[in-house]
């Protein structure tokens, strides 16, 4: 590939699924996968992964820490369909059944640098009280047919969800040749190394 005249740009993402807050649940594990458009292709790394089961920390924060690494590189010709990471968290309920505890998705940050993202998670709701009871009783909570549903907007209007918990992700993003192809995502000087950007909303 001639460096002067690239025909694709690269997006390298590494980071980790750091931790989660699910005050009601314990002993959870998470899965992640990437959803991306047709013009995207993974070139290296794993685009899906499944973490260990982790228990709540004993302190007041009650954090569920996975620190589960993500490392994947995509190439693409079109920013349309920019990769999204889809997270789904599972755990055992009181009868020992494996049930889903939350779904969430977020776009991989556009600009190079270090980004921290906190995703609110949600689960689909049962359609009726009776079904809610039976699903609880039998340990068969409603689930999405495909976790990737949460990364698309189509068809969401038929579902009802309840939000529960947060998952915190850390991304380190490096792009290559974006600018040469005419896509400007980063701040004015891409030379400058961005310091750790703070999550929004928290004052200095």
């Amino acid at each position: 590939m001639a460096a002067a005249n690239p025909s694709v740009f690269l997006l390298m993402v590494n980071g980790q699924v750091e931790s989660a807050q699910f005050p009601e649940y314990d002993d959870l594990y998470c899965k992640y996968c990437f959803v991306y458009g047709q013009d995207w292709a993974p070139t290296a790394g794993l685009e899906e992964g499944i973490s260990q089961i982790t228990s709540k920390s004993q302190d007041v924060r009650q954090l569920l820490v996975w620190n589960f690494p993500i490392d994947v590189t995509f190439k693409s010709t079109n920013p349309y369909g920019w990769p999204q990471i889809v997270l789904s968290v599972y755990g055992l309920d009181m009868f020992g059944n494996d049930v889903v505890r939350g779904y969430g998705a977020v776009h991989v940050p556009f600009s190079p640098g270090r980004h921290k993202r906190t995703i609110p998670m949600f689960v689909p709701e049962s359609t009726s009280k009776l079904q809610k009871f039976t699903s609880w009783f039998m340990g068969r909570r409603p689930e999405y047919t495909d976790p990737k549903v949460v990364a698309q907007g189509e068809g969401r209007e038929v579902t009802r969800v309840r939000s529960q918990g947060f998952v915190t992700l850390l991304f380190n993003v490096v792009t290559k040749d974006m600018r040469k192809l005419g896509y400007d995502t980063g701040p004015a000087d891409t030379q400058g190394i961005l310091g750790p950007s703070l999550p929004q909303g928290i004052p200095r």
Partner: protein
């Protein structure tokens, strides 16, 4: 101590000087004319506390503005609350919960001539009261009606004149004027100045003259009108006599009012005398004037004459030589004619004139006053006494009805009820329409429609109603009549005179008249009055304010129409009058508009721009978008064009996109209308293939659209509420960890094969499986009943690497399983070498093949069974071994199906999720009850046996849902087939089956995979000459029915077709299962019957669902009369309604 720590700001007002820099006077911007928004309201005390705090803690003073107050943004609070106020404690809940009916209020959106966004949205109401309609002419008018209408019109005119009574008024005026003149001339009265009196009197006199002229005219008109009325009435009477019936109840009564002969005569005479004297006076005056004129001119003439004479004398003295000079000299000069003295006024002549005129225009003295009175007291001749033509006219009138449409701003808002036309051509509506309006009314139109019988309606005429003044409110508006007329031409074949066509009252057809349909609508339009007595009228200024929100650019003027611009001057005036704050941002667009309008430079394009800002937001110009290959590719992909739907990684640069990418697509577009005959045997098939291709495309498009409609079940996996009787073992279906992507290798494993009844002892068969250009073969086995027990793996690649359901469904690849015989030939020619080496040639003899479409495996998930091998009719060098069959102990059932079979097991690894069938509901012409019953039936069946096929409705070729039994009806097979074996019904049946099987098979399940199956009727099937199992089965079943057999359609699973349709017939003692596509038939207990399970049976009048424990035809009872074994669709509860056939 506490006080040291705590700081409590004072509540006292801070003097202004403290808040401002030293020696600065507070400056009030508002006074200087700058716009300052309203400040949010803060309590005075709080403000003081804040000011004190700021002064103490932040001495920088930057918190204060020039006016010494805390800087503040304009109050962001809306003027009116957008949410109902919260319940207060005092009010009782009951009062709060009291429901009040409110009319639905439309959301006010920005539009032309609308309530300004600033004003609270109001609703305005226009009340239109349409009381009735009267035709003054109608095609159904008889001649009498025409006269009656004329009479009525004249009478109306008469009444109107009578009411105004202009003649009387003018007479009175005349009298008054005469009196004034009399008094003016009275010399006893003192006069301020003679001059003025004379002048006034002269004025009076001229006025008298004019008034008299007017009065005479009016009186003449009155008289003429009365005469015409009487004339028309006479005509009408004679007409009634002539036709010997009457149509109209009109009756004119002339009332004579007796007058006192003497008094009347006196008055008449006095009037005439007065007139005469006046005229005389006038004439005398005139005469005097003329006399004066005459005198002066005569003087002039005399003087001239004298001068002439003097000249002559001179000339005569000068020379006698010019005797004729007198004459000659006179002629060139202007020769004043000698004026003739005016004739003196002759009283007798004047009197004669006056009397003559009076006789003409005035009632003769002593003659009684005639007062015409029109009444409806007359009787209409009843129908039975009328001639035919008249009766038919009356019938025709009865068939006609009229209604009105109310159009507001050219939009139909309401219409009256349709009322029958009365015999008197009056229609009474008496309806009041309350129009809730938002837009300023521009036009208000009534459309008169007429309906004749049951035929269509015709628009007779449009009536434009004036928009009422704002002062006219309901209750105060008078009823007004608006006339309308139509230009339609109607000729009728009865007594009706028609309209727009000439007709005549005379017998000889002379004196022709042409009348147009016309009439009057009586109506009342007024503004409504609201509950609180405020009229619901849009404010006048609203017409102007309305633009505000729309006017963001000068160009936007065009978007609201130029009609707004005409008022621009007014708008500016209004803005000036209402003292709008020019700096208020709310008014900015308006101000800009006014400045543009008043400067006279407004750019008003003569076009209307729909999306005015679209161009600015366009990504690239359209030309570039069309030129660029990349953009084209992207667009085609997003349109889900099949060739590009799964195109990955569209290159960044145009140059990297090959032209040939589009070639297939463009070719397909071109070929759409070109019929390719190369690939097909004849043109008919090509046409059919093309047709089916188009049907397929349209169905697929519908499917693609339907795919974007999601149900909850598509997104969320949720357990059904379990039955108490049967708790299912939970099965995890959703946690697929993207197996699809890893699923490239696929396994097809023919494990063991059996049964080679091919008689060659030394047959050494092997199996070769080919799929997607990959070929695998087994080892060679020995003997006619080989067993391989081998696993073959063939990779599967989805098209374009797309493993989505839609893409997998469109895989059209077949798995070919070929069976070969391996024959070794010894090619050694020299026996001597036999000891040292083996030299053989291997030949493969093709024995037969089995073809299994991939879609079958995909939908079945696995295939396990024994398949009949297609073998050529003649295999040279091979023969079948009869005794083998007997040895193996298969009984007679076996003998029915001779052939070779292969047993195999095929599956895909990892499992691919088969797509579920589309649930799109196609529209139907079936009874709604029947459709509900089918849904119920299917749901019940699916609950008991989810795997058994239950079919009640199918989709016909036009995409409509049709009840399945409609397809079955006895149809006569071709006579030639019946003539072959007239005495052998079994042979005939076989022949018919063969005939049906010869119709080409065109699978639609592959292309419509998972979408739906289209059922064409037998007629369409024979016409298209192509179809799949259902069509074959339906045709065969119909033929069997006509042969007198008991025949059913069997819906079930067969190998290798998957879900399919077979035909079941009942013979004397046993049942036969027919494969309609091959023409083969099997006994019920035939082990090698390809039909593996039976879901339901379909007869011409019922559907039976298999509720037996087993579904294999070997193990079930086909006696449909047993309700424990077969659940019938139509039963005693739902009897068969006698559906007609679609065949």
């Amino acid at each position: 101590m506490e006080k040291e720590i705590l700081f409590i700001p004072s509540r006292l007002t801070v003097p202004t000087y403290k808040k401002l820099p030293e020696n600065v006077q507070p400056r009030f911007l508002e006074d200087e004319g700058l716009y300052i928004g309203a400040r949010p309201e803060v309590a005075r005390a709080n403000q003081n506390i804040m000011e004190n705090r700021l002064l103490t803690q932040e001495p920088g003073r930057r918190w204060f503005g020039d006016d010494g107050r805390i800087l503040a943004l304009p109050s962001p609070i809306k003027q009116f609350p957008s949410r109902p106020s919260v319940l207060t404690q005092d009010q009782s809940i009951k009062a709060e919960l009291e429901t009040v009916y409110k009319k639905a209020v439309k959301y006010v959106h920005v539009s032309k001539h609308m309530t300004g966004s600033v004003d609270p949205p109001g609703n305005f109401q226009l009340d239109i009261d349409i009381s009735g309609l009267i035709f003054t002419h109608h095609p159904c008018f008889s001649r009498e009606h025409v006269l009656a209408a004329k009479l009525a019109q004249l009478y109306d005119q008469y009444l109107a004149r009578q009411q105004r009574n202009k003649a009387k008024f003018l007479t009175d005026k005349l009298q008054a004027l005469r009196n004034a003149v009399q008094t003016g001339l009275n010399p006893e009265k003192p006069h301020p100045s003679l001059d003025t009196t004379q002048k006034t009197i002269n004025e009076y006199k001229s006025e008298i003259w004019q008034t008299r002229k007017l009065r005479d005219m009016e009186q003449e008109k009155d008289r003429a009108l009365l005469k015409t009325i009487i004339k028309v009435w006479k005509e009408m009477k004679s007409l009634r006599e002539f036709q010997r019936f009457s149509n109209t109840p009109l009756k004119l009564v002339l009332r004579k009012e007796k007058v006192d002969q003497k008094a009347d005569e006196g008055a008449h005479e006095a009037e005439i005398q007065a007139e005469i004297s006046e005229l005389l006076e006038e004439h005398t005056e005139e005469y005097k004037q003329k006399m004066e004129e005459y005198r002066t001119s005569y003087q002039q003439w005399k003087a001239w004459k004298k001068a002439q004479r003097a000249k002559k004398k001179k000339k005569k003295q000068a020379s006698e030589e010019y005797p004729e000079d007198e004459i000659e000299a006179a002629s060139p000069e202007e020769d004043p004619v000698k004026p003739t003295p005016p004739e003196p006024v002759d009283r007798a002549v004047i009197e004669q004139q006056v009397r003559k005129r009076a006789a003409q225009s005035r009632r003769r003295p002593g003659e009684p006053t005639l007062l015409p009175e029109l009444s409806l007291a007359g009787s209409v001749t009843p129908n039975d006494q009328c001639p035919r033509a008249e009766v038919s006219r009356r019938e025709d009138v009865k068939r006609r009805s009229v209604y009105l449409k109310v159009l507001f701003n050219n939009k139909e808002v309401s219409r009256t009820v349709s009322r029958q036309l009365g015999a008197d051509f009056r229609v009474h509506f008496g309806q009041i329409f309350n129009l809730q309006i938002f837009n300023w009314p521009e036009s208000l139109t009534l459309q008169v429609y007429e309906t004749v019988g049951h035929s269509g309606t015709t628009l007779l005429a449009e009536v434009f109603l004036p928009i009422p003044e704002t002062t006219i409110v309901t209750g105060r508006a008078p009823i007004e009549e608006v006339e309308f007329s139509s230009n339609q031409h109607v000729t009728l074949d009865h007594e009706g005179v028609g309209s727009g066509v000439p007709f005549s009252f005379e017998a000889d057809g002379s004196n022709q008249l042409i009348l147009m349909t016309s009439g009057k609508v009586s109506h009342r339009v007024a503004w409504a009055i609201g509950e609180n007595g405020i009229p619901l009228i849009p404010p006048l200024s609203q017409q102007n304010i309305g633009f505000r929100s729309a006017l963001k650019r000068a160009d936007a003027i065009s978007s609201i129409g130029t009609s707004g611009l005409t008022d621009m001057k007014k708008l500016a005036k209004w803005a000036a009058e209402s003292k709008l704050d020019p700096n208020d941002p709310n008014n900015a667009p308006l101000m800009q508009l006014i400045s543009v309008a008043t400067s006279g430079e407004s750019y008003v394009p003569d076009f209307f721009r729909l999306e005015q800002l679209q161009q600015e937001f366009n990504f690239v110009p359209d030309e570039e978008l069309n030129r660029s290959k990349r953009f084209r590719l992207l667009r085609l992909r997003s349109q889900e064009v099949p060739e590009f739907r799964n195109y990955k990684q569209i290159p960044v640069y145009d140059r990297e996109i090959m032209e040939k990418v589009f070639q297939d697509y463009e070719k397909r577009l071109q070929d759409r209308n070109v019929i390719e005959t190369k690939d097909h045997i004849d043109t008919h098939r090509a046409v059919v293939a093309k047709y089916l291709q188009q049907v397929r495309e349209s169905v697929i498009n519908r499917f693609l659209i339907a795919k974007h409609h999601f149900l909850l079940a598509d997104l969320v996996v949720e357990e059904e509420v379990p039955n108490i009787s049967k708790l299912q073992q939970p099965s995890r279906s959703s946690r697929t960890f993207s197996e699809k992507r890893a699923a490239s290798p696929s396994t097809h494993s023919p494990t063991h094969s059996a049964d080679y009844p091919l008689g060659q002892v030394l047959v050494r068969p092997f199996v070769e499986v080919s799929f997607q250009r990959t070929i695998c073969h087994t080892t060679t086995a020995e003997g006619p009943n080989p067993s391989w027990n081998e696993e073959l793996e063939l990779p599967f690649r989805a098209p374009n690497g797309d493993y989505s359901t839609a893409s997998l469904q469109s895989v059209k690849d077949d798995i070919f399983i070929n069976i070969f015989d391996e024959v070794l030939y010894d090619v050694l020619e020299d026996d001597r070498e036999r000891g040292s080496g083996i030299h053989t040639r291997i030949e493969r003899y093709w024995l037969g093949c089995v073809k299994i479409p991939f879609s079958t495996i995909y939908f079945q998930a696995r295939i396990d069974g024994t398949f009949k091998i297609d073998i050529p009719p003649v295999l040279l060098g091979y023969s079948k071994e009869r005794n083998m069959i007997m040895e193996r102990g298969f009984d007679s059932a076996r003998s029915l199906s001779e052939g070779s079979y292969i047993t195999l097991f095929i599956t895909i690894e990892p499992q691919l999720v088969p797509g579920e069938s589309v649930r799109e509901k196609f529209d139907s012409q079936e009874d709604e009850k029947l459709l509900q019953a089918t849904e119920k039936f299917q749901a019940e069946c699916a609950l008991k046996f989810p795997n058994r096929q239950c079919l009640t409705t199918v989709i016909d070729i036009s995409g409509k849902t049709v009840f399945i039994t409609r397809y079955l009806k006895p149809l006569n097979p071709p006579q030639e087939l019946l003539n072959v074996y007239p005495n052998n019904p079994q042979a005939t049946a076989e022949l018919v089956a063969r005939y049906v099987s010869l119709i080409p098979f065109l699978p639609d399940t592959v292309s419509f995979a998972g979408v739906c199956d289209l059922w064409s009727t037998s007629d369409q099937f024979l016409d298209l000459l192509a179809g799949d199992e259902e069509e074959h089965a339906v045709l065969l079943c119909n033929y069997f029915l006509s042969l007198g057999k008991k025949a059913w359609l069997v819906m079930g699973n067969a190998i290798p077709e998957g879900p399919t349709a077979y035909v079941l017939t009942q013979e004397q003692s046993h049942y036969l299962i027919w494969n309609p596509c091959s023409g083969h038939f099997y006994a019920q207990f035939d082990t090698f019957c390809p039909l593996k399970s039976v879901g339901c049976l379909i007869g011409p009048d019922n559907i039976w669902f298999n509720i037996q424990e087993y579904d294999s035809p070997l193990r079930i009872n086909f006696d449909v009369t047993k309700p424990k074994l077969w659940k019938s669709f139509f039963s005693r509860r739902l009897p068969y309604p006698g559906l007609c056939s679609v065949q």
